[in-house]
């Protein structure tokens, strides 16, 4: 698709005006008559068993309308997550919920719930669980093996090796994949380097807590929730509630950030629905910042050892990666696997082995967090690559160039091929924009107490899926209505991907309306808004639907005005005969004609290959104008990945250990740029989140009681405006991916690894080659390293 008026233009966000005037309604901003408020009883212990829960005193209170407990929901087989539980596996897990006339009364009723529970041994750090006689996080065991959960303990000899910073001989992962001849590749290496790595878990902390409000009307439940993916949340919540999708209405017009923690709604959307059903009243449940830490989801920690084999020129021949996954208490997270595939793509080793050991812990539940797995791998492995480059005396930009993936490069254990990779172009663009060749001369320079360091890091991540549906209608008012089932969590893709439909149909952007944010508005089958899928998947789906509409418009024009469909073009909201612009019809007229003719023109007849969700929506919209509706059947040969190269310059105070981030410049290959300012927001914002993880964010637990003390912003410490460079630039290669009609790839994920790794590399550079492969690099850790003191924690110890 050629570059044109709409795509690549700096259109402001469609919803900016409501957002800046206070008119935008997030979940907690909705009100309903007679609305009750809910409060939760949370588990006080990280693992326990409810022996008795007496709700009678609470229920007897004036103003209390409903109490729900685990018994009100279908039981869930372990290790699944129940909405409410009698067997909590993390501190803060919801046990019961109360709805009352106001929050104070609800809280008082929670105080009157009489809870009698047994406290059980718990595991916070995966290593504690692997020790001989260490605690298991669940009755079923402590690790994920081939057949599900099993019990696995290491020997005291193994643990002694771990304490000495070595990988114990002979310990194995429960998951393993490999490609190439690892022994041979290591044998040919000129330099073999092995390092322990610890990437901690941390909470997503979207700015908007996951509050939600529910009410029932005519057998349907209406849920105002904070979700990343409107259309797909309907199905998820219907599943939780044991209802038909048609009876669940999900409203989510604005979501205050998610980063993977609100992909399809969570248990907290189900609780108010259950309370509202019991109470016969609307129920609002406001979630607190503390509760966000408990059940608001977190990134999966990965620790272990990495071994690299390098050729003298910096080419990476072999990688052997062993990852212990801090899995949290529920289902097996896939982070270890993405860590492996992402590394295999970033470094293009001839041979590689991934071994992984997902260990269950009694810590807050995990979900994908921006570039799950890939981010942790890049943040930990890039400094090791720098360490080798220093020993081999190879420039750090050059070491990335020599290993860079290119078009059709292989990725992962099944060696599938990437659709495109303009990594060399991105590295060279960054060299110029950042002025790498001059700035690297500042490396290690000391000025007073401050040492300067520069860093560069490459972060790839999956950039798109395909195969969903597009749905749009041109109505008799002459406007184009693009129905979008993806959410609105701040990435702007719900608007930016609709640009494609406007572009194909020659429709002015001002005449294009986006219909989204409410499943009763008839949305097509969409992707979940996660894993950088939407830009790719929905530019394709909207392209397909718009091509379908265009064809129908051309047919109608030819039928009415003579000639063949191909004689007609579309532009400026009209269809007209090529070479004779006066012979044509307005889109308003076309919409009327489509409604007269019916059949496939107005959505009464639909293609066979549409998803049933799309069919349901299209049927509801049939007869309202000219309908474009199609499945994305475009070819998608290969795996789609996007890339960000991060460049950064820091000053490290050698007396305090404080890192001052002076410059950060991300450069991306994300295919065709749809909206430059939306792109800049993603790569800057994602980069800063990565820097936040690298420098500040962590959990700290009290070991005796297992409670997390870093549960608020001031202790969880996401980056503030004073922690970041006062101004930032960016670069984009802006070359189309050949395996998608618009050329655009997703860009939500890769920025975060680039930020985290670039700053870690820059710190090592400032310290003259002390490589710290753990997060977060707080001043105490940096100072210890500068002063050569041994740290106060073990090599693989986490939550420190």
């Amino acid at each position: 698709m050629p570059k044109s008026r709409i795509i690549g233009s700096d259109f402001p966000q469609r919803d900016l005006l409501p957002k800046i005037t206070g008119r935008a309604r997030y979940a907690e901003d909705f009100r309903a008559d007679g609305m009750l408020f809910a409060k939760l009883l949370l588990s006080p212990v990280p693992r326990g068993r409810v022996r008795r829960l007496d709700t009678s005193a609470a229920l007897a209170m004036d103003g209390v309308y409903a109490v729900v407990t685990a018994d009100d929901f279908p039981s869930v087989d372990p290790p699944g997550e129940a909405v409410l539980t009698n067997e909590p596996v993390y501190q803060g897990q919801p046990i019961a919920a109360v709805a009352a006339v106001d929050e104070t009364t609800a809280a008082e009723a929670v105080e009157r719930l009489r809870l009698d529970m047994e406290r059980l041994p718990f595991a916070l750090d995966p290593l504690d669980s692997l020790r001989p006689n260490g605690p298991n996080a669940r009755d079923e065991g402590n690790v994920y093996g081939d057949e599900g959960i099993e019990t696995l303990k290491w020997t005291s000899n193994d643990m002694a090796a771990v304490e000495q910073g070595r990988r114990p001989e002979g310990v194995e992962g429960t998951v393993e994949w490999s490609f190439g001849d690892l022994d041979d590749a290591f044998a040919r290496a000129d330099l073999v380097i092995e390092e322990p790595i610890v990437h901690q878990s941390q909470t997503h902390h979207p700015m908007e807590p996951r509050s939600s409000m529910a009410y029932w009307r005519n057998g349907k439940v209406h849920l105002h929730v904070s979700t990343q993916s409107t259309q797909r949340t309907q199905q998820a919540l219907a599943g939780w509630l044991g209802m038909d999708e048609e009876d669940v209405v999900v409203v989510s017009e604005y979501t205050g950030g998610g980063f993977g923690s609100k992909i399809r709604g969570t248990i907290t959307d189900v609780i108010p629905a259950a309370l509202a059903r019991q109470a016969g009243r609307p129920v609002m449940m406001r979630v607190t910042r503390d509760e966000e830490t408990y059940f608001g989801r977190a990134r999966t920690g990965l620790s272990g050892w990495v071994k690299f084999g390098f050729r003298a020129d910096g080419r990476i021949l072999a990688i052997d990666l062993f990852l212990i996954q801090d899995n949290g208490p529920f289902g097996r997270a896939g982070d270890f696997n993405s860590a492996g595939t992402t590394s295999s793509l970033a470094y293009q080793p001839e041979a590689m082995r991934l071994q992984a050991l997902p260990v269950l812990t009694n810590t807050p539940p995990r979900s994908a967090q921006r570039a799950p797995g890939g981010m942790q791998a890049i943040a930990m492995l890039e400094p090791v690559v720098d360490k080798a480059a220093r020993q081999l005396n190879v420039d750090r930009l050059d070491v990335r160039l020599i290993n860079a993936p290119t078009h059709r490069s292989p990725v992962g254990p099944n060696r599938s091929e990437v659709t495109s990779a303009y990594v060399r172009e991105a590295l060279e663009l960054g060299r110029e924009l950042f002025d790498w060749d001059r700035k690297k001369e500042l490396s290690g320079q000391v000025n007073g107490t401050k040492a300067t360091g520069v860093g560069v890091a490459l972060s790839p991540y999956v950039g798109g899926s395909s195969g969903v549906d597009g749905l749009l209608v041109i109505r008799p008012d002459g406007k184009l209505y693009v129905h979008q089932g993806i959410g609105n969590l701040g990435t702007h893709s719900v608007f930016d991907t609709a640009m494609v439909a406007a572009e194909v149909l020659g429709m002015p952007w001002e005449e294009t309306e986006i219909v989204s944010g409410d499943t009763s508005r008839h949305l097509p089958r969409s992707t979940v808004q996660a894993g950088s899928q939407t830009t790719h998947a929905h530019t394709r789906a909207n392209h397909a639907a718009a091509m379908d509409a265009k064809r129908k418009i051309q047919e109608l024009a030819a039928g009415d005005l003579g000639g063949a469909p191909d004689d007609y073009e579309v532009a400026d909201g009209r269809v007209f005969r090529r070479g004779s612009p006066a012979t044509g019809l307005s889109f308003a007229g076309i919409a009327e004609r489509a409604m007269e003719l019916g059949g496939r023109y107005d959505g009464h007849e639909l293609a066979e290959d549409l998803h049933s969700d799309t069919v349901r929506s299209a049927r509801a919209l049939a007869g309202q104008g000219l309908m474009g509706v199609a499945r994305d059947n475009y070819s998608h040969d290969g795996s789609t990945y996007s890339f960000v190269v991060g460049f950064c310059l820091v000053e490290v105070d050698r007396e305090t250990g404080v890192v001052d981030l002076k410059e950060y410049l991300p450069v991306t290959d994300c295919g065709t740029v749809l909206n430059p300012r939306s792109l800049a927001a993603q790569i800057h914002g994602g980069g800063l989140q990565g820097i936040s993880v690298a420098l500040f964010e962590k959990w700290a637990f009290d070991s005796q009681w297992g409670v997390n003390s870093n549960k608020r912003f001031y202790t969880a410490k996401p980056v503030s405006i004073l922690d970041v460079p006062v101004a930032m630039d960016y670069g984009a290669v802006d070359l189309p991916d050949p395996e998608t009609p618009v050329g655009a790839k997703g860009i939500g994920e890769p920025p975060i690894g680039a930020g985290a790794a670039a700053v870690a590399c820059a710190i090592a550079d400032a310290l003259g080659g002390i490589y710290l492969t753990r997060t977060p690099l707080t001043p105490d850790k940096i100072l210890n390293a500068i002063e050569g003191r041994s740290p106060a924690y073990g090599p693989l110890q986490t939550h420190v």
């Binding site: 409060k39 009364t105 009157r112 406290r119 700015m207 406001r286 503390d290 914002g685 608020r712 930032m728």
Partner: protein, 210 residues
């Protein structure tokens, strides 16, 4: 929550020592720190805790508003739940994030951390009160539009009010000074670059308008 007893590996821990333990650890799993007593409705029971609402008059966005307020009610809750002004957001409810920032007599305050009874006689300005009655945007809002500021924008009302407050105090800040003035606000999406672009453009627009 009433914990009758917590049995620890066969040994009973009293509620008292359990609570002492978790307090020592600086953390309990209390959900009760974030409370709101809703608007008195026909269904409302008499408050169990004995607190009673008192009618007061508030000057909000240039209007006198009469509202029943509890002694411990925060300004954020009065605005959001009693005056129909949910533009003021709650990100933490404890003076950590600035999502609830409003102006009191032209100066920035966290609405989550000030009691409504304390603002008697002061002029409260919220995000809803920034536009002129004819819909003309405030120069700060116009600046945000022209810079396409914010991502999810949950932090936007707070940041915008903080920018207005900043310009009241220092009409000509440098970019560094603007960052300092806005440092009481967090943006988890990390949109700080566009936020500072907006702030600096707002400086320009404000000077053009006077």
């Amino acid at each position: 929550m009433k914990i009758l007893e917590v049995v620890n590996a066969g040994r009973t821990v009293s509620r008292r020592s359990f609570i002492k333990g978790v307090i020592a650890a600086g953390a309990t799993a209390s959900a009760t720190s974030y409370l709101f007593r809703g608007p008195a409705s026909a269904f409302a029971a008499p408050p169990a805790h004995g607190a009673v609402e008192r009618l007061m008059s508030l000057n909000v966005n240039g209007q006198q508003r009469r509202v029943d307020v509890l002694p411990h009610e925060t300004l954020a809750m009065t605005l959001r739940y009693k005056l129909g002004l949910p533009g003021t957001k709650l990100g933490c409810d404890r003076a950590e994030c600035g999502a609830c920032t409003v102006l009191l007599d032209g100066t920035v305050h966290y609405a989550c951390s000030i009691l409504t009874h304390q603002v008697r006689g002061r002029e409260v300005l919220t995000i809803e009160g920034l536009e002129a009655p004819d819909g003309t945007l405030h120069p700060v809002q116009e600046a945000v539009v022209d810079e396409a500021g914010f991502q999810c924008a949950f932090c936007a009302p707070g940041f915008i009010m903080a920018m207005v407050g900043m310009l009241n105090q220092n009409p000509n800040p440098t970019r560094e000074e603007a960052a300092r003035a806005l440092s009481g606000n967090l943006c988890r999406c990390g949109d700080y670059n566009k936020i500072l672009n907006s702030a600096m453009r707002a400086v320009e627009y404000t000077q053009q308008r006077v």
